[in-house]
């Protein structure tokens, strides 16, 4: 019990004294997650809108694939992209492996199906009069879909927040593609895994508290969005 209390006390001290390593891990996590979620939203929202609105042959298969991608373990995504980014891989010459860019790409792949699925579900539950209303007022199909997404803005925000919650808490992609390099690619989750294995439990606990606070804020926002 003393061990836990001492660790808790040390971790609070680290947070209060703004420990550089803690701050760096928080910064890297927030930067890569924010960048990857912006890219994932740019791909995921139109993808979800197209699948949600269009009726085409093979749609059911695409939906199954999207659901499968949502459930894919992060280390599998990391493994696949590791193959692409490694020196022998087709994207090896770009030199992205063990850089924040590789992590951003990996987290984008992780978040895109989540955002697409949330978008799809939001559109499926939307008022069916929105799009015809926009069209009869003279909107082109693209303008109509844009208006539909604007009407569903809270659902879209919820999709983005859910995706952000997933990427900031993941460890597999960050570990395999980032390499856990201190100050560059070491995120909160990879730092917790490494430092705890080295016996630095208090350090891991400090980052765990930050991560839990972020998760709490994200879920509060998510609840707020879903109530609108």
């Amino acid at each position: 019990m003393n061990y836990l209390l001492e660790s808790l006390s040390s971790s609070l001290a680290m947070l209060l004294h703004l420990n550089t390593d803690v701050l760096n891990a928080v910064r890297v996590s927030l930067e890569t997650s924010a960048a990857s979620i912006i890219l994932a939203a740019l791909f995921g929202i139109p993808l979800g809108a197209i699948i949600g609105l269009a009726r085409f042959r093979g749609r059911r298969l695409v939906l199954t694939l999207l659901n499968t991608l949502m459930a894919l373990p992060t280390v599998v995504i990391g493994l696949f992209l590791f193959g692409l980014f490694s020196r022998q891989g087709p994207l090896g010459p770009l030199g992205l492996l063990f850089t924040p860019w590789a992590m951003i790409v990996g987290q984008m792949v992780l978040a895109t199906p989540i955002i697409a699925n949330y978008t799809l579900a939001t559109i499926a539950g939307a008022d069916p009069r929105i799009l015809p209303t926009a069209l009869t007022l003279g909107a082109s199909p693209a303008q109509g879909i844009w208006q539909l997404l604007l009407e569903l803005r809270f659902g879209m925000m919820a999709a983005i927040i859910a995706g952000f919650g997933r990427v900031i808490a993941e460890v597999g992609v960050a570990m395999m593609l980032g390499g856990n390099i201190r100050g560059t690619t070491r995120t909160m989750t990879t730092a917790i895994a490494l430092e705890t294995s080295k016996g630095e439990f208090a350090f891991g606990l400090a980052l765990g508290m930050v991560l839990m606070s972020i998760a709490l804020v994200i879920n509060l926002f998510l609840n707020l969005m879903q109530q609108r």
């Binding site: 009069r129 015809p132 209303t133 926009a134 009869t136 007022l137 003279g138 303008q143 208006q147 604007l150």
Partner: protein, 242 residues
């Protein structure tokens, strides 16, 4: 009299087996057409087809003499033919934003936009409602704003699906007076209703949908129709029970 919209041999089959069959329909400039028919006769489906919000399985639609058979022509038609649904949807924003939506799409901005919004709101007797939130409006106000939103666009053809159904005593006269005024603006109106009495109150040309099939009496003028033109109405198409 100029024909704005012409429909030839139009067919639309629904999954439930219902089929809309329009052999020929011509909508002339400045006329009010009263589309009647029992519930499920296909009135709303026909209005959606005329507004090009659903595609037909076969047949032809001509708008100002030109066939409507491509996305550009459909878009051009939608800019001139506006549908107001029985239960209209207002965007989750202000009344002003709702009415200005179509104007912005037509690149109408600034003072002209504000004037068009104010004028449309005055038409439906809701002057000063610009800043009100759409979701805070009553049912009757929502329908009046939806009508104002369509009027602001100055369409050639206005399609109104059951515009007076379920309206309260305050709103009903607003609609009926406005319908009569609109006829004087060279605007073609098609209003659907299962209320046959409406034909008596408004100067209209009747159209009758019977289980998906359009029965159009030979063309009559307003005065002919209201001076006994009902004799032109096929006897087997009784309006009883509509």
């Amino acid at each position: 009299m100029k024909t704005h919209l012409e429909v030839r041999d139009l067919r639309l089959r629904r999954e439930n087996g219902f089929e809309l069959r329009i052999d020929r329909l011509q909508l002339a400039e400045g006329q009010i057409y009263h589309l009647m028919g029992a519930n499920g006769a296909g009135k709303s489906t026909l209005l959606h087809l005329l507004a090009q919000l659903v595609p037909a399985d076969s047949g032809e639609i001509l708008f100002n003499g030109q066939p409507v058979n491509g996305s550009a022509q459909i878009q051009a038609l939608r800019r001139q033919v506006t549908l107001v649904e029985q239960s209209p949807f207002l965007f989750d924003s202000s009344v002003y934003h709702n009415i200005a939506f179509g104007l912005r799409l037509r690149n109408i901005k600034g003072a002209v936009q504000r004037q068009r919004v104010a004028s449309a709101l005055a038409d439906v007797r809701l002057s000063g409602f610009e800043k009100r939130r759409a979701r805070e409006l009553s049912g009757g106000e929502t329908r009046r704003v939806a009508l104002a939103r369509a009027l602001a666009l100055d369409p050639k053809i206005l399609l109104l699906d059951e515009p007076t159904a379920g309206l309260d005593a305050d709103t009903l006269p607003v609609f009926e007076t406005l319908m009569t005024q609109l006829a004087g603006r060279q605007l073609t109106l098609v209003l659907s209703s299962h209320d046959a009495q409406q034909s008596q109150r408004l100067p209209v040309i009747p159209l009758f949908l019977d289980r998906g099939e359009l029965k159009q009496p030979k063309p009559v003028s307003h005065s002919q129709y209201h001076n006994g033109a009902s004799a032109l109405w096929p006897k087997h198409l009784s309006t009883q029970g509509i």
